[in-house]
């Protein structure tokens, strides 16, 4: 892992995300890109009639940029951020488009971002920003809300189905596992559709783990009416430090209709960070 991208909006959870990214960067000697994006909508508010609006917008943006860079610098003075190389980007544009652009051009390996969580009607139409990144990012996205000072990843719950495609997901999670010498709990959520007997679940999970050459793991199942409930129940009961899962990238209408398990988890998980890995 060489490059970590942290979208930053100064919120509590964004700062938590930055601290976590820093911990990861220390272990891998990666560099961290901090990205603050000002959406044009905000800038448009200050344009008035009779003036050179665009020039005003630019001037305002430069002003904002200066303040943002200064404030980020202040934050980085804390000992929490020692020993890691940071680069700061302050830009204007659409948040998720800009981030996705950075992910490809900067050869980002991992995105670590805060999530406020979304509930209610908004969830259906707007989705959270985090959701959108999770949906479109070609690299794993680690979402964080809270972070204890003595945060350590000892137990990773990796929720998978029993398809061979999941071997790739396991391999991606192995990299995080290695950094923390963590134990991985492979979890299959058993539902009425896609119901398997316990013995078969353990066997098939073992086969996937062997194919991915995974060590220090155990196999589990949870009976539930849907994946989100199963994963969240299990992770909470087990006091997991991290939830990992694969996300299928769906666009447009099919997404609106089917929804996404990962996005639901990201929105509803209380304090447990979620690592979403794209299945290519």
């Amino acid at each position: 892992m060489k490059t970590i991208l942290v979208p930053f909006d100064f919120s509590k959870c964004a700062q938590n995300a930055l601290r976590l990214a820093t911990q990861l960067a220390r272990k891998t000697e990666a560099q961290v890109y901090i990205s603050h994006i000002v959406e044009p909508a905000h800038l448009n508010l200050i344009s008035g009639k009779g003036e050179n609006s665009y020039g005003l917008v630019l001037k305002y943006f430069e002003h904002v940029k200066g303040i943002v860079l200064e404030n980020i610098e202040k934050i980085l003075q804390s000992p929490d951020y020692e020993g890691v190389k940071f680069q700061k980007f302050v830009e204007q544009g659409s948040i998720h488009k800009t981030l996705l652009h950075h992910i490809s051009t900067l050869e980002v390996d991992l995105v670590v971002m805060g999530t406020h969580g979304v509930g209610g009607l908004d969830e259906l139409w707007v989705g959270s920003r985090t959701e959108r990144i999770v949906r479109y990012s070609p690299v794993p996205v680690l979402t964080v809300r809270k972070l204890d000072n003595d945060f350590n990843i000892q137990k990773i719950v990796l929720a998978i189905n029993l398809e061979d495609k999941q071997i790739e997901t396991i391999k991606k999670v192995k990299r995080i596992q290695a950094l923390f010498a963590a134990h991985v709990q492979l979890l299959y959520v058993n539902k009425l559709t896609g119901f398997y007997g316990s013995q078969e679940i353990h066997q098939r999970l073992d086969v996937l783990a062997a194919n991915a050459q995974l060590d220090n793991y155990s196999t589990h199942y949870e009976s539930a009416y849907n994946e989100e409930q199963g994963i969240l129940n299990f992770a909470k009961r087990e006091n997991a430090d991290l939830i990992a899962l694969a996300t299928h990238q769906r666009n447009g209408l099919s997404h609106l209709l089917a929804g996404s398990i990962t996005e639901n988890i990201v929105n509803h998980t209380a304090d447990i960070p979620v690592l979403a890995c794209a299945i290519v």
Binding site: N190, L192, F195, G197, S198, I201, E222, S223, A224, F234
Partner: protein, 285 residues
Amino acid sequence: MKKLLVPIDFSDCSLNALRVAYQLAQKAQAQLQALHIVEPVYSYVGAADGMYLSAEVEQKYLESLVAAAEEKMKEIAQNPDFGGVELDTQVKIGNMFNLIKKEIETQSIDLIVMGTQGVSGIDEILVGSNTEKIVRMSGCPVLTVRENAQVQDFKKIVLATDLYSENRAIIEQIQALQQLLEAHLYLVYVNEPGDFQAQRGIEERKAEFVRFFGLQNYSFQLYCDKSIEAGILHYAEDIEADLIVMVTHQRNGISHFVAGSIAEDIVNHSPRPVLTYGLKTKALS
């Protein structure tokens, strides 16, 4: 547990059952009763040949059977393997079920230990049902032991339950047994596709169940399988259980374990010892 009854037919199977009963009797400091039953075969013998056994011949035949049996029982009684426990041996003539029922009542038997070979096919309808019959008829629990079961100790006890229809008398007996054996209780609820339940809801039921009965030293698993019988057998296999406890329920359609056929199935197919309780089980004295 004060008195154990072991029906003997001198097969390896029943002798193994006697060994297991002996271990239990030692632990509980209980009395052990070995009983051999000679069932008189009445006039249907020889009917096809047109030969009839006269009453005297039949009587002589029975007497020689009884004498031979009594010899073998004496050997058992004197066998040092069964030392240190009050062992009573008897030979009786009559119908097996009726005699056993009578023994249970007159002798206040607390547990019957029976050898079984396990069965499939037509026999399946008969053997498991023998256990069922005794259990339902007598209200006395029955422990079935396979002939090649190596029973060192009962430390892992599986209790299959639906978490709401168990009765206090039976659970108290099971707990008493658990304490006597210093065993760990493995509660299992089997999730089958025909009646799928989510873990979340079952956990609540389980918490209530544990609280209500004051269970100690236990674990719980929501196990998934294609049928309840398969789930119980596979779970016991997974954890290498020493004993499976089944409760046979009345046929009233409400209970999840319909008609007690599940208990029968387990008795017929389990390589591990199975302890079956019936609803008539008396409360602990």
